[in-house]
Symmetry: D3
Subunit: 137 residues, 6 copies
């Protein structure tokens, strides 16, 4: 028996107008014709769905960093937290934005190494070097 | 009373030849004249010190990703894990490689959002969409 | 091939008297006629089984907080840690105690947001405001 | 030497009109005359500051759950993640909303126990019981 | 200003008979004349204090594993979770039971490496090899 | 539909000479005739594959700690992080090195308890006792 989502997915045809508006914007923004299952479970709380989508759209768009770099960071965090769904979905998004396998393997090498040295620093407790203290403006 | 490191720091003048060789390579690689405290506590295990430095030097150097992007990923992972020392040291490294405050704030916006959606996906358990499944080569 | 539990489950009919006594108390306390699989793997260490059940029974019962609030907290922690089994079992327990889908979605909104701001605080390192310092009694 | 925040705090008198508008709403919503340091570091990204405050205000307000229950959940997550700043600030918020020491100790008992059983389940890998599978609507 | 504990510490002379009984057993078990601060904050919930101490005493005593090995595992988990207090207290306990600096450095090498490969496995998602599946009894 | 690995596995017959050399050393070191899937996905980055295998071989071999103790620590960390693959693979490795079920259950009791007290300490914030401060050499 396969595990089922904790709440049922809300498909487009069963969705309220408020939910459909978000689904429509997801598809328009991504230039795609489908909505992934993360949003279909989140749709049980339409206000949360809209808030999450609006903030994600702003955060992941171009800014001081380009969208591909942001997807790489998303993969690093999702691997650190062990989120299966997020690993698959953001690896797919990053590939769609140009991530090669060589880039993926380097993201993971850095992610793995950071997880390693984080624990060594947390366990050995070196004080922060004065040279690393942020300067006043 | 300030907390002390779990093991004493090994300063250059007290270090064995094996440890000094690593310290020298750290300074030469970074074109700097000091070694930060992380290495000075790790030096209690010279083999581990050398192995860690060698692998970090390889991983953080240029490759499919540039060194600044790698530092941004390091910050994202260190923030996710709550490593205080690593946050200070890698923020300083990233700034030395050109990270602006605007870039830092975007890294953190993505890191925070990934930590948020990771938990929503872990709690609501949507199945991985077939469209996200990796393709055979 | 489906993954198997790391140790086999110990069913009631194969259990020792010591293990059966705990299983009986679990069913009596919950007014149910079955024992869930978490306990059946833990039963490989009868002392640990009894200690865990006794402490869980005390902690999750009514006190300064009601049992439903405690289940909501359990869901928040399990989502944060990404424990699949615990997410399913404690969502089911919370529903049995009256949790609606609207309540679940709010628990997760708070859990997600806390995971997000935790990382921003860990990364930006604001000092604790004097107003937040606990007062002497 | 005390560690400094990664970016300087932006005080009200130095803030832009955009940032001041958020600070004003924080104080008005909380009926207080000061802004805590979390917001003063986040203010380096005014759009992120506003987005975070708006969403937090919506999520932590009354709904299917009361605001005190939401603060308890915030404490549970912050303890699980080990966020020092968040532990102090949300314990203070919860106390202001009526949390007693007895309630705090019960939140932590549940949080500790959930962190314990999460790892036992993750290590022993019992399958999810069919009785815990969510039902179709 | 130094951060203060979230609840005041309960000293022996101010403790109830119930709390003193636990403090006395801690000192008798450890053959020491002082109680560390973890217990003095936990004492705000005497039932939780007693339950925690009783279970910890049972778990950390000799069994299939010796007490020193158990302390090493405690250090590995505390480093992984980034618990500052636990790192100091369990490193001290392990040293009192015979841990050398060489042993500590090896515990941390394994802990760091496990944290690294955990993320690589979580990110790359290899299926569990049939050879690793637990066998029936 | 079963989830697929994020990158395809590289089998021995399709591997480059560089990758085969690592696979050969894995099998020779373990005196086995197969390579587990973790390495087959990591093989997409041959330099990372070799570096990871070399360091793991050094770290997990005999030293100040015996190889079985090191496997127990690996299980404790993998359970704490919730890494499914690592839990199965390192439990199997530990069993091959002599771990009994009684030893496994004790590792997990300590792991669970450490995860519990880590959160209580992180939430209640007792200062580190002077007696636990590391001494100068």
């Amino acid at each position: 028996m396969t595990d089922r989502p904790i709440v049922p997915m809300i498909e487009y045809e069963d969705a309220s107008a408020e939910v459909r508006a978000v689904y429509d914007d997801i598809m328009a923004t991504r230039k795609s014709d489908w909505v992934n299952k993360f949003w279909k479970v989140l749709a049980h709380d339409p206000a949360q769905l809209r808030r999450m989508w609006e903030s994600l759209k702003q955060i992941m768009g171009p800014g001081a960093l380009d969208p591909l770099t942001k997807e790489l960071i998303y993969i690093a965090v999702s691997a650190t937290n062990g989120c299966e769904y997020c690993t698959y979905s953001h690896t797919a998004s990053a590939r769609a934005k140009g991530m090669t396998d060589a880039m993926l393997m380097e993201v993971l090498a850095v992610t793995g190494k950071a997880n390693e040295t984080n624990r060594l620093a947390n366990a050995l407790r070196p004080p922060v070097d004065p040279q690393f203290q942020p300067k006043d403006i």
